[in-house]
Amino acid sequence: MTDNEYRGMYEKDPYSAQTSLFDEYLNYVYAIVYNKLRSCGSREDMEECVGDVFSAVFLHYDRNGSFNGDLKALIGTIASRTAVQKYRSLMRHGNTVYINDETGELADDERLEEKTERSVMQGTLLRLIKSLGEPDSDIILQKYYYNMNSIEIADKHSMSPETVRMRCSRALKKLKTLLMAEGYDMKEGNI
């Protein structure tokens, strides 16, 4: 959906326009929110945050009369910022130190090094997961990153839960082997 398309729809029926935008970008926004809140937020927290994001997007349009350019980039930015705010809010009520605050005390070069290493590890893991091929790469992410159970995954892939378990078990073993070849051990505590 482009800025112009949204405007056209909005003029006819604001609610329909908002619902269409919501449906088109829900997965994207949820993925961003999940990515930030996975370790600290409940499903309710994430849904609340998604609501904050879209509400902010709609208000942005109301104030400006347009999205001024790349709609997806704007939504991504709002989602990312909103999720970070939510993360901070949740952390204030928990015992965990917010990672950005902690890393803020590090010297710039240490921070950069850590960031680079993290980025390399992310890239490596994603590349290896991708190399498992479909649907195993999806199943692995859904099981171990999105914490979906076999039944939910099975539904999404039109497989039986038993097949999902089996594929997952096999794919995880393969991933461990691939990681070892790259010099990594799979972290048992937080796979």
């Binding site: 609610y15 879209f54 999404k156």
Partner: protein, 605 residues
């Protein structure tokens, strides 16, 4: 373990935007319920922030809980939720839940295509001082409008029904007899078949209840009349907040509350020790709405998960369900034995359960006037007030009173599905060596850290009689309850045993449906494993509708898949067979022909 750095999936958190898209956008499981919830949250926040009210009439999908009842009332869920919160124990809540979902089901049910005035449900049970009145808005609406609201019907099951008004008791008796005759013929392993009629939903077409015993367990079931025959009644059961499955209204015990058109069905999960119980509201067209449910995943109200057990000992879900259960006047059904006297007894038309609207004159149509129904309902309500409450364990009587039919010849002994597991020919293996291998299994258990309290236990059993005991592991998981695994010894270590199955639709070049055997992995069952060493058999049972998988472990750790009966595939001897009661009966007979042993698990020291 040569790697020096540890890596986990948490490293993917806070990825850059491109990675986020790659990881997630299309991989998550956002179902319609969740989508609607988030849209509602969005619109609430937006309207609050902008100071502009979003018109819920113009935005029906924004409010998933604006539910309409055909031709009658409309409820706002925000209020409904409060009412239910207050009156979870009241029949009003049930009526609201069930009634609110009704329209969709009758629109969505292709077999119920009758444009039946009786399909319009009128909620009249908003009582007990709830504050529903102000929110109830008289409004004529069409069925198509009801459907357009996208009401979630996940927890309503349509059932066969009839609009015929010329049904006689004689006709029902004959249908009952046909059903029981067929049941008796198909299920040779069951005995003590009894029946009862009761018009639970006051539609003047009595439901048929049957009760029977079979080896080890018994059961009760409810059937509905479709105008020709009695057919199994179904209901939707919640597996989780995101998943429902359809089951027969059948279990260890069934109680009824005709006063409120409710059926209580409960079964003890013998593997987890947890009751699967439901309170189901039956509408006049036999649609079954699962109003309250308790199972191992938690306590549900109207299909929504209210609370899940914090751990194995957490009784909160059970207590919540019990509180609801105890708020109704439940009746046990008064059964009449079937067997050889059935014809006479059924045809007499006098033994029709507790207060059924069944005519004494077997040729007289049993449909009654509204006034008659009201009068009878009143009488029944008074009677039911003193009804005895049912013990939920509900173990059928006379289970041991009859010798079961031995069906040793039904067991298939060979299979096209064969998997050769790791094994050893060594003859010098000591128990100390096996114990050491067992301890290594625990140390390397592949998902030990997924679990907060896995309570791992073990058992040895030499299923294939090769002198080397197989190792069985049992552990508790928060997500799946108890799971069990079987491992075989290869002379150095125990490895997860594999068996072969080939799902026709899920065949893949690299796996062929063979269950993969990571150490401590498969055979892994989210339920129970039982063994029959006498015949070298293993029964994997994950509960529910599935009868499970029956395996034979031969010497050399050769695993043969003899039977599999699951919701998505059935096999006998490695040959796919159709899923039907006959297949199920053969599987059950094969199970019954063996002496099954529970494994005796011990804690790891």
């Amino acid at each position: 373990m040569s790697g020096s750095k540890e890596i986990g999936f948490d490293i993917l958190e806070n990825s850059d935007m491109n990675s986020v898209e790659e990881i997630g956008t299309e991989k998550m499981n956002i179902d319609k319920k969740a989508r609607d919830r988030m849209l509602k949250i969005t619109m609430d926040k937006y309207s609050e922030a902008s100071g502009r009210q979003v018109d819920s009439q113009a935005a029906p999908e924004a409010n998933e809980f604006v539910e309409q009842v055909s031709g009658t009332d409309k409820f706002q869920h925000s209020r409904l939720a409060r009412i239910i919160g207050f009156a979870a124990c009241s029949a009003a809540a049930v009526a609201l839940i069930a009634g609110g979902m009704f329209v969709y089901k009758h629109n969505a049910s292709p077999e119920n295509t009758v444009s039946d005035p009786a399909g319009v449900i009128i909620i009249t049970t908003v009582t007990e001082g709830t504050t529903a009145e102000p929110d109830v808005e008289e409004e004529e609406t069409t069925e198509s409008e009801g459907l357009s609201l996208g009401i979630d019907a996940d927890f309503i099951s349509p059932n066969f029904y009839t609009v015929r008004t010329d049904i006689t008791q004689e006709e029902l008796n004959a249908a009952c007899k046909r059903y029981l005759d067929q049941l008796s013929k198909d299920r040779s392993e069951i005995w003590d078949i009894c029946y009862a009629f009761n018009d639970v939903n006051h539609d003047n077409r009595p439901e048929l209840f049957i009760k029977y015993s079979n080896p080890g367990v018994g059961g009760e079931a409810m059937l509905v009349y479709d105008g020709k025959e009695y057919k199994s009644a179904r209901f939707m059961s919640s597996v989780s907040n995101f998943k429902t499955v359809e089951n027969d209204i059948a279990g260890d015990v069934i109680n009824i509350c005709p006063e409120k058109s409710l059926v209580y069905v409960s079964s003890l999960d013998r593997f987890t020790g947890i009751y699967n119980s439901q309170i189901i509201w039956l509408d006049k067209n036999n649609a079954a709405a699962t109003a309250f449910e308790l199972n191992d995943s938690g306590y549900y109200m109207g299909g929504n998960l209210i609370c899940r057990p914090a751990d194995e000992k957490d009784k909160k879900p059970q207590n919540e369900f019990d509180a609801v259960y105890n708020s109704y006047n439940w009746q046990e059904l008064e059964y009449t034995p079937y067997e050889d006297k059935v014809e006479t007894k059924i045809q007499s038309g006098t033994k029709n359960g507790t207060g059924a609207n069944v005519s004494d004159n077997k040729n007289e149509p049993i449909i009654k006037t509204e006034a008659q129904i009201n009068a009878e309902t009143k009488t029944k309500t008074e009677t039911n007030t003193n009804a005895e409450k049912k013990n939920k364990t509900g173990t059928p009587a006379n289970v041991e009173t009859k010798t079961k039919t031995q069906l040793n010849d039904v067991l298939i002994n060979d299979s096209k599905f064969v998997n050769e597991n790791a094994h050893t020919n060594r003859t010098d293996i000591t128990q100390a060596e096996l114990d050491a291998a067992r301890k290594r299994v625990k140390e390397n258990w592949y998902h030990k850290d997924d679990l907060e309290d896995n309570d791992m236990k073990y058992a040895y059993a030499d299923v294939n009689d090769d002198g080397i005991p197989e190792l069985f592991i049992k552990e508790y998981t928060l997500m799946h309850g108890y799971i069990q695994a079987m491992l075989v010894y290869d002379g150095e270590d125990y490895y997860g045993a594999e068996y072969y199955i080939d799902f026709k639709e899920y065949k893949h070049d690299d796996i062929d449906g063979s269950y993969f055997g990571d150490q401590g992995g498969n055979i892994e069952v989210y339920g129970n494993i039982m063994i029959c060493p006498e015949k070298h058999l293993i029964h994997l049972n994950e509960g529910g509708d599935d009868l499970g998988t029956l395996l034979k472990l031969e010497k050399g750790n050769i695993m043969k898949t003899l039977y599999k009966y699951s919701y998505d595939a059935c096999y006998e001897g490695g040959v796919e067979v159709s899923q039907n009661p006959e297949t199920a009966a053969r599987f059950q007979a094969a199970l019954d022909s063996c002496s099954w042993q529970e494994l005796e698990y011990k804690s790891f020291e």
